[in-house]
Amino acid sequence: MPDQNNQSIKLRVNGQDHELELRPWVSLLDALRHTIHLTGTKKGCDHGQCGACTVLVDGKRVLSCLTLAVMKDGAEITTIEGIGTEENLHPVQKAFIEHDAFQCGYCTPGQICSAVGLLSEGKADSREEVQDLMSGNLCRCGANRGIINAIMAVKQDMR
């Protein structure tokens, strides 16, 4: 029989420290949503195909559904709740509103975390590069044009 003992880990999420006792098979996504009760991060496919669960781990955008929480012991995590506040939106959040970059909103937290990751990576210059490097986030409402427009607008403002 496998040892089902919980593992003790520490996560720093949106600037706040959490000490957690978790089973090894709990994904980072489930730990964020069910244990820490940060439900902004969404579960879409749970198989790494849609990008809805994108968060930043130590500054890099990753898929929280394909990460075991125990593998990220000691990591610093930013979810959509840590990107901006209602009073002080992140420039990407403002641009998403201005450019009509969502309809149902389910993919939006992942899209925004992914866009923030993309901007800090600094590898996308042209619109075509932005499209290619945002392809890991699907939008089934078809707001993709607005999403890319919003990111291009933020890039423009950063210049």
Partner: protein
Amino acid sequence: MNNFSYTKVTDLQHAVSLLSENKDHKAVAGGTNIIDLMKYFVTEADTLVDINRISGLSDITDTENGGIMLGALMTNADTAYHPVIESRYPLLSKAILAGASAQIRNMATNGGNLMQRTRCYYFYDPAVPCNKREPGSGCSATKGYNRIHAILGHNDNCIAVFPSDMCVGLAALDAKVHISGSQGERVLPFADFHRLPGDTPHLDNNLQAGELITGLELPEEGFSEYYSYLKLRDRNSYAFALVSVAAGFDIEGGLIKEARIALGGVAHKPWRSAEAEDYLKGKTPSEEHFAEAAEIMLDEAQGFEHNHFKIALAKRAIVRNSIMAMNPGSQRPGAKPSL
């Protein structure tokens, strides 16, 4: 997922001894494939051994013979964007960036890329027969919906394809795979790492139980002047290849001195043809000669009900990509066809 135990290791020898002494232990690094396979109950493990914290396997170092060693635990993204890879091995950079998504490339490691399993939908579905998942149960793909399947190197046992883009680049570059096991270290030429299905389709590669990939060695020649990676698929980005092709050429005095062409999405491993590459030596880099090389490469190709189109597609991809290699600047983000 089945319930499992989890342990972190920081020492390579410790990892190797744990994995070789316990057959039900499996290594996890990026996790992007094994965690997904476990969610589908395609893969099970008693214990996952987290190898991410083993030191010394996350960088690029120079080798004695003018090449470089890529650490097995470096992420695909860090590798593709590394200045040494971008400048000396741009073909590898392009191949990596054609695969998966930005998020997955931030997680997936170089060693793990070689270890990923086929995306054959029958392999992923424990309700149907699959010789790769359950040896002897039969192949559901040969008479099933086989649009994404192999046209080369297959047999009745298995027509799955190996899904990596990075490995198509590594095959073209003649990389070597450095391996550590309880018996010591060994090195395999890239062509000898992955296997054709034969009578053992459940074995994707020649890594033995308990062994770990520690590094990927690249020779000095990186074909940084004339190279291209082209990937054809059902959507423009974030999809596995129907056909992909990596090409690198050394050209002297207007003639091809050395040619490398590797195909992805067509077989159980990246596919090269010594005959086709030899044919191109001493020829001008013309459409006509590339077309003849493509004919040689696909000479023995055999399609199935839904994937015959791949034979013509692969030939055209070889020609188009070889022409793109004469002007590497014509390549577009995500390895799409040139304009």
